[in-house]
């Protein structure tokens, strides 16, 4: 890579000055309360006064369907209007990652020195569902109306396909839950903090064959926030060696997408177009690696969107931690467990947190930051220097955030 200011990626590094979270769970309170708690914690961690924040970016919370997105200004108002630039970002599960991308772009463009990023949600119980009404122009509405296809239905299709093609078993999938639950038991912000056995996974009810209840993440309340800053601001602030965001990838898929995915009823056709060089999830990771000039062999740890146990195995391959079809071997051999060569989801993952959609990608970066600072306590990955967080949301949204120290 060419010489770069601050030793960063193509556009330079931004510093992670502060992290803050509200514990995940079902707390029965407003997302604003969770988000403000996380924001205040992040500001305190950074040692930054809210009035010195130049911009606030909110990852959107869905209220009453598409017209009901609220975030940036909601948090800014609750913290006390102070005249900052404001932005709100919706990208389904990738909302938090795209909020980081927006904050980083403002910092690198010189529009703001220090930016507060917040995501929070109070999720309804049960399956996620689209907004009401007759809306056949919405692909998310259509898949429920025409197929009854819930999110776990798509996870089940992927899991069954992996069983057929790679010979994985439900017992392999359960190992992911056992691993993530063991890590989550060490995380005070996780909703589920109890170790889980393979027998418990096997005894839980089938939701979408072959996946069982304990293979699939729950919905939760929760919040996470980051204070990001220019490297110059960090130095002036007395932080010489902060954890740095080196790359953020927010790429779209490349036509034709050939693997069925949320919320589509069919894939693109590969007639008349060569298949894309790599899958969407692979391209999310690849774009982050290329921007950072860092490869998967340099990762100390990774946080991945384990919406289901089988999906986590898929991510191992998409991240380049192993070859195609080798995901189960990694979890069987303990490579991705705490103490393994490249621990994955040491936070406990979605398996331990559940989904609080706009907050989760931010929570992943909170965990990476704590790990790279060496302050993750009993979950600490020794000597962690490089981490990646990846996620994927509806409608071709995805995000990868690569952080270094």
């Amino acid at each position: 890579m060419s010489a770069r200011a601050d030793g960063g990626g193509a556009g330079g590094d931004v510093a992670v000055l502060g992290t803050g979270m509200h514990a995940w769970g079902k707390w029965g309170r407003s997302f604003v309360e969770y988000g403000v708690a996380a924001a205040r914690a992040a500001l305190a961690d950074a040692g930054v006064d809210w009035r010195d924040v130049g911009a606030v970016v909110g990852a959107d919370t869905v209220r009453g369907g598409y017209p009901g997105y609220v975030a940036g200004a909601t948090f800014a108002r609750a913290l006390g209007w102070q005249g900052a630039r404001v932005m709100s970002v919706y990208a389904a599960c990738a909302s938090g990652a795209q909020a980081i991308a927006a904050a980083r772009a403002q910092i690198l463009a010189g529009l703001a020195d220090v930016v507060l990023v917040v995501g929070a949600d109070a999720a309804p119980k049960g399956f996620f569902a689209p907004a009401g009404g007759e809306r056949p122009d919405d692909p998310d509405w259509l898949r429920f109306r025409v197929l009854g296809a819930t999110n776990p239905a798509y996870f089940g299709l992927l899991a069954r396909r992996r069983m057929a093609v790679h010979g994985e078993t439900p017992e392999d999938f359960a190992l992911v839950k056992v691993k993530n639950a063991a890590a989550g038991a060490l995380n005070p912000y996780a909703r589920y903090r109890r170790p889980v056995t393979a027998a418990e996974v096997a005894a839980s009810p089938v939701v979408a064959d072959p996946l069982r209840l304990l293979d699939i993440c729950a919905t939760s309340d929760g919040a996470a926030a980051l204070v990001l800053a220019s490297m110059a601001y960090a130095r002036r602030h007395g932080v010489a060696d902060p954890v740095r965001v080196r790359a953020v990838s927010t790429v779209t898929p490349v036509y034709p997408r050939t693997v069925p995915d949320l919320p589509d009823i069919a894939t693109d056709s590969a007639v008349g177009a060569a298949p894309a060089p790599c899958s969407f999830r692979e391209s999310i990771a690849r774009a982050a690696y290329e921007e950072a000039g860092i490869g998967p062999e340099e990762l100390s740890l990774a946080e991945v969107y384990d919406l289901s146990t089988a999906l986590e195995l898929q991510w191992y391959e998409d991240l380049g931690l192993c070859g195609e079809g080798e995901g189960a071997r990694l979890v069987r051999e303990g490579v991705t467990a705490l103490g393994g060569r490249v621990p994955v989801n040491v936070s406990g993952g979605l398996a331990s947190f559940g989904e609080a959609v706009p907050a989760q990608a931010l929570a992943q970066v909170c965990e990476l930051t704590r790990q790279l600072r060496g302050t993750a306590g009993a979950r600490q990955v020794p000597g962690a220097r490089v981490g990646i967080a990846v996620n994927q949301g509806l409608f071709g949204h995805g995000g990868g955030v690569l952080v270094v120290r």
């Binding site: 109306r145 025409v146 239905a153 089940g156 072959p210 034709p256 069919a266 007639v271």
Partner: protein, 151 residues
């Protein structure tokens, strides 16, 4: 009551045909041959398309092979229609690879076809099916189902 059949989405499959004539309907770009299902009627979405083509309706292959399958053991939320007073009967969902169109189409399996009746790679065919009946308006909402091809 006079029941009237209506497709759950107009234009996605043939209506009124017997089992043998039933087809899913997509569109094909005359410039680049790309096929779209559900139908794309406005712009070809292939970024490599030279443009200038038309999107013409094409019937999709009647038969394909199972890419994967799963089921829904819990009642899905609205807008899926089901009677909360009736115990939930799991539906089976099948993803089917159509070789000629080089795409995968999801659909519910025909009534009575469960997880145990399916395998990845098995040949299936598209058949007309009923999604739900609305007694209030006398409407039978029709759809497509995937059914294993008798060996």
């Amino acid at each position: 009551m006079v029941w009237r059949c209506r497709p759950v989405v107009p234009g996605w499959f043939t209506e009124g045909g017997d089992d043998g004539g039933f087809r899913l309907l997509g569109t094909r770009c005359t410039a680049c041959s790309a096929v779209f299902f559900p139908r794309e009627d406005v712009h070809c979405r292939n970024p490599g398309c030279r443009g200038g083509g038309e999107l013409v309706e094409v019937p999709l292959s009647r038969r394909g092979r199972v890419w994967s399958y799963t089921d829904g053991r819990y009642r899905p939320p609205a807008p899926y229609v089901s009677d909360p007073a009736v115990p939930w009967e799991p539906y089976t969902l099948v993803a089917v690879e159509l070789a000629a169109e080089a795409l995968v189409v999801l659909g519910q399996a025909a009534p009575g076809v469960g997880i145990g009746d399916l395998a990845v790679g098995m040949e299936v065919e598209a058949v007309p099916g009923v999604l739900n009946e609305d007694a209030g308006t006398g409407t039978v909402w029709t759809t497509w189902h995937w059914r294993p091809v008798a060996a």
